[in-house]
Symmetry: C2
Subunit: 762 residues, 2 copies
């Protein structure tokens, strides 16, 4: 644990006290988002200290030129980067001619932030003693509307505590923003039009190259002691920004409130030449509701989300706060309303991991959205990849694969690869398997088979073709081998026969063959269409069978475990527990070659396979592999603890499962990986949810039935969660002595608890 300043609270994230060293961390932790846009917890007013400014718009990215000294054939020409978008939250403030800047104030007292997760708003309050000795009390509340997702609202209240003074408010828009990760001198935004009328202003700009057109807008209103003021603002414009200056004579003790609505209209949702009109319409709507009216709507919208996705934990406030923080952030990042969007590893909280979509979505996020939203949302996530199939085929072609083989990119915004480390881009190909697995997982969970004949089978064929071309026959082993890959454990590069990848490839081939047969039998028209489209031949499927049947899987007979890859046993097998603590995390202390030749595992690799294919192995086998690999695992990926938590629970090691749970659920709040400043680990938050539902709750789908094996950490009195299973809502409540299952109205449903069938009635 690296930090411990967040106040424990079941429903809120709270910081107390002003500490300049925590600014960037809190800017991440108190981020807000609504699926379409996001905002780091930057101050509204000017701040001259260290800060990481970030406003983000879903689906708006920039294709930065890939430039590495040592180019490899197949590198993408461009990599997408998350763009810092024009700033709409800014409100500068002058009191008696002195600008408010918390970095230069004589003193800041009673500084407090609260992110109210239940209702979906963020509030910051403080008293500042300014260099001119004016004492000003501020309370700034803001949120991004879940319903009207193109906009947010800010209520910025001030009171002067010791004098009367002239106060100037300057709410503004600014498109002169940069990316923190901008190494090159490329300009990202082109500003084309700035207009200002009465209390509204608009900036039209578009991204370079991608040409996403965006209108950033604002509307401001001033209130004196709760009453709308008649003071008219003066417009201030320059090349890249526009502001409205309100000059107010404020009496000591008087409450002055600036309300600002703002946000973005984008050409994904509106005609490009009607962005200002669209913004005007949105502003009419929100300003007529008013800040309080909007806040009411916000509360209602979040209540609906929580009703379905909340997990309660009794007796452990930090665990409760942790899980809610994770669920809250996941819902801020992706709402499932737009199949063109996806779940970026940092969501709307930072720039890192440039692209939007990783295999995290399929491997970690899908179960969460499937169980807490509905099957339409899950299907949208699958469709996202179907829509990118053609680009995945092109991507494979660039690497020398043929005949419709598909390799999904490691990182993508629009289906194109946008990452350029050869050991990842070209070799971390297991991602392809996760995309096939998601189709299986979706079908198993929802019982909605229709996705496969409609779209999924084509994806499965492309993926199977890739695997069949990627392996080669080894005379030496008399088996098919897969050379030069990087597994989920990125602390190994360019290894041969990564067990996880080989096993997954074998499964993909078998699964594609099965589904092909199923579609042939049950969906004749689709079958014909797909065969014609893909030109799949019997020779090809014959090869798939052969490869699946003769895939090499590295095994240690001595240890009775599958080997993570060829040569794993040659390593110096010192356990993590025996490492010098000063050298951890190893990725911050060791050179890359040292990490690579060490046995240390960044995240579940062989165990990831046991997680995906639990039913293929006995519990004894799981235990053996867990005991072999976990001691070498450093969990330096945010995606690691959750899988281990689920498996430890399955193995009845509740103390260990609980430790892993805490690590995953409070990863960012307590900053385990010393990097929260850069943004939150959004995709791993779905893993936290998994730790409870699949780990402690033991939820599985077996033989088409919903199964549970409830357990509870001894630190907890009780926990409960709901899931949406095939459009039925089941509530699970587990205490130290009992487990209760409730179902919504409707037909009785047979579930399995601890391997015994139980029928639930409403």
């Amino acid at each position: 644990m690296h930090q411990d300043y967040i106040q424990p609270n079941p429903w809120s994230i709270i910081e107390e006290g002003f500490d300049k060293d925590r600014i960037k961390s809190s800017e991440s932790l108190f981020s807000i988002g609504n699926g379409a846009m996001g905002q780091r917890a930057n101050f509204e007013e000017h701040y001259s200290g260290a800060t990481f400014q970030g406003s983000y718009i879903g689906g708006v990215y920039y294709p930065d030129k890939t430039r590495v000294g040592w180019w490899k054939n197949g590198y993408p020409e461009y990599f997408a980067k998350v763009l810092n978008a024009p700033n709409w939250i800014g409100i500068d403030l002058w009191v008696d001619g002195e600008q408010l800047d918390l970095n230069t104030c004589k003193k800041v007292v009673d500084f407090r932030r609260e992110l109210h997760m239940k209702e979906g708003w963020y509030k910051r309050s403080f008293v500042a003693i300014m260099p001119n000795d004016v004492e000003v009390a501020i309370e700034a509340t803001r949120f991004l509307c879940l319903d009207t997702d193109e906009t947010g609202a800010i209520q910025y209240q001030i009171r002067l505590l010791n004098v009367d003074a002239e106060v100037i408010f300057l709410p503004y828009l600014d498109s002169g923003i940069k990316n923190k990760d901008s190494n090159w001198d490329d300009k990202f935004w082109n500003t084309t039009k700035i207009t200002s009328e009465k209390n509204r202003a608009f900036i039209e700009s578009h991204t370079m190259k991608t040409n996403f057109k965006v209108c950033t807008f604002m509307h401001s209103e001033l209130f004196l002691d709760g009453n709308k003021s008649e003071i008219k603002p003066t417009s201030k414009k320059d090349e890249l920004s526009v502001g409205h200056s309100y000059v107010v004579d404020v009496k000591k003790g008087q409450e002055v409130t600036l309300v600002k609505y703002g946000g973005y209209t984008v050409d994904r949702n509106h005609p490009a030449d009607k962005l200002i009109e669209a913004a005007d319409t949105v502003l009419n709507e929100v300003s007529s509701l008013g800040f309080d009216g909007l806040l009411e709507e916000q509360k209602k919208a979040w209540a609906q989300i929580w009703d379905m996705s909340d997990i309660t934990i009794e007796g452990d406030i930090k665990a409760q706060q942790g899980i809610r923080f994770n669920i809250f952030q996941l819902n801020q990042t992706y709402t499932g309303t737009d199949s063109r969007l996806n779940i970026g590893p940092k969501g709307f909280t930072g720039e890192k991991y440039g692209g939007s979509t990783y295999w995290d979505t399929e491997a970690y996020c899908l179960p969460f959205y499937m169980a807490t939203k509905n099957q339409e949302v899950a299907r949208k996530l699958l469709k996202y990849r179907y829509n990118h199939l053609e680009k995945a085929i092109e991507n494979a072609e660039k690497l020398g694969f043929k005949n419709g083989a598909a390799l999904y990119p490691m990182v993508t915004m629009n289906g194109e690869e946008c990452h350029n480390e050869w050991e990842i881009t070209f070799e971390e190909i297991h991602r392809n398997g996760a995309i096939a697995y998601a189709i299986f997982n979706y079908t198993r969970y929802t019982e909605d088979y229709s996705y496969i004949p409609e779209m999924g089978l084509e994806v499965l064929i492309g993926i199977a073709r890739f695997w069949q071309q990627r392996i080669n026959w080894s005379e030496n082993r008399n088996k098919y081998v897969m050379l030069g890959v990087t597994g989920p454990n990125e602390y190994e590069n360019n290894v041969n026969n990564n067990w996880y990848t080989n096993y997954l490839a074998k499964w993909c081939l078998e699964y594609a063959l099965e589904q092909l047969e199923h579609v042939r039998q049950q969906y004749t028209t689709d079958y014909k269409r797909i065969l014609e489209k893909t030109q799949l031949t019997n020779d090809e499927t014959g090869l798939w069978k052969k490869v699946a049947a003769h895939m090499y899987l590295p095994l240690s007979e001595e240890h009775g475990v599958y080997l993570q890859q060829d040569g794993f046993l040659d390593k110096d097998l010192v356990r993590v527990a025996d490492l010098d603590k000063k050298e951890r995390p190893i990725n911050q202390h060791w050179s890359w070659d040292r990490i690579l030749r060490s046995p240390y595992i960044k995240q579940a690799d062989t165990l990831q396979g046991f997680y995906f294919f639990e039913d293929h192995f006995t519990t004894e086998e799981l235990e053996k592999h867990f005991d072999f690999y976990e001691p070498f695992t450093v969990h330096e990926s945010s995606l690691s603890p959750c899988v281990h938590s689920v498996q430890a629970a399955k193995l009845d090691r509740m103390e260990q499962a609980y430790t892993f749970y805490l690590r995953t659920s409070r990863l960012d709040l307590d900053d385990y990986n010393k990097e929260v400043e850069e943004g939150l680990h959004i995709t791993s938050m779905a893993g936290t949810w998994m730790s409870i539902v699949e780990g402690f709750g033991g939820m599985r789908i077996r033989d088409g039935k919903l199964c549970f094996a409830p357990k509870i950490p001894e630190q907890w009195e009780m926990y409960s969660f709901k899931i949406n299973f095939r459009e039925r809502i089941i509530k699970v409540t587990v205490s130290q002595n009992s487990a209760d299952f409730e179902i919504d109205s409707g037909e009785p449903l047979e579930i399995v608890v601890n391997e015994k069938p139980i029928t639930l009635s409403a």
Copy 2:
């Protein structure tokens, strides 16, 4: 072979005809250098077409900021890059107000370039029909003085063929130059002073960051029909350049000659505040000699070089031209007069491979300089690394090694690592072994043991310490293994137990132990000093012994060969001959992952070990390994064909040896690798020399004796070379029927020819 426009000629490189597509290629091929500076064959006059401008100063580099998106601990903060230096060769020309520019002329006829290797000068001549229909004949000759190595001379002669006209000559200096590989907007040069006086001008500038101070200077003289003209130039200055404008009324047929002397004085050789004075002195010296006088000196200096290093080949003009081109370029790059300089892979002919020094120097270049110069020059090359020992220790520390372990950088200018691909920088560690091998090779050849107690032993200790810390014990194999390395074959990355590296490491440990014992017995004072300085303990040397004795060496019993690395036999072992020719070179057609998982070898790897340690193996073993590995070798490194040529000759496969010889000797002239535009492959040129002397001549040192086993390709009538062996000059002449050996005056010398002892007398 990619191009075939160079005229066969025993002593000259000649191009005939003007072809804009060949400009950049010829700029490389006709480069001139004198060990201290170099100049691509750019035109003196303005050229608006595609060109690659390059003037280079030995030892003057720039530490560019290393920027990669995916930073690894241990990457160097900076990487050195060869800098394009201020231009001193420029002479712009206007005829009747129209600027001469071969790119825009109506016609260019009789265009001819000649690089006269025997005498060390470069001449370009042509007739241009200018847009204004003036026909002008130009003959421009230039060279960089071998003796006065801070300067060069240009004689730029013009004649008007069809009219009288006003001609303006503008010889100039320009420090507003850029690097072609400059991706970033860093400025490389800061110009601080520009002065011009009469017919001389000086630009003082210094490199950013490294602060190398350089004075670029020129002196010009005008001659009309051979007589010095009284015309005074007008000075033209701007921020970054200075020129002297001569306005001349030229009659049709009149010969007008501009002579320009120019070059650089640098603060490595002069006090920083005396660079202009130093330049003035140089100019006094060269201008008093005059162009013809300097040219005479140049001819003499080159005659001396050729007297010692020439190789003659009769009956094969292309082979003759090839070997002389190689010897010429090596001597242009490094003269052995300054132990702070070294041999960059592209010499002074291009920017690529940013840094100056690779393992090429020790593995390929040392034998050439040792045999064609003298032992002082070879010792300077060793001393270069001794001077960098401290930085090699720091470099190893950055990667986590301790206690004086030394890892020499992969690429360096000043001892610091300046390359940042993890698979090369951190893993291509065999380079360390080549540095130890060079010490062995030097001692074996020269019988000068003194280098070891004076300097070499400390280097050997640092290197041995590195290897001992780099291996680990494998319980599994009951041997020491070396994981995660890149061998000389860079088409494999991060492999385990690369045979070459393991074998070399084992040898380094044994050799260090032997030398330690030898110094202990014979050089007591040095021994004590070294022990005190290095704090070497018996525990350490005990470990060295143990590691050397139990090093794992991968072996295939089935094939009876050492394996290049673990897992080599799992590959799809299709021979190069069976590949589609359209897909070659594979590095231009295949993605990196595909190259890595293929069996294809970029350059000798296992065979490099057989080359270094030939005496450790039988000829039958060599043959077996050659037959196993060569068929998988694509020779896409310039360093590959030479080793294979030497070994093919050893195996009596003269046809194959000859093919490899042609490929190495005419690599750049015929542009086999399609990249000659970027510069010449200087270091591999020493390998060409090896192919003849060690390959066809069969020269070896065994038991302290010089041995030969002369062979000759059937395409040749005769060849001869000289070598300096322990300060004796031996001339070897081999024809189809005989081999003759001559020695200079002095004591008789016993040599071994075809395993029989022979005594040579003067």
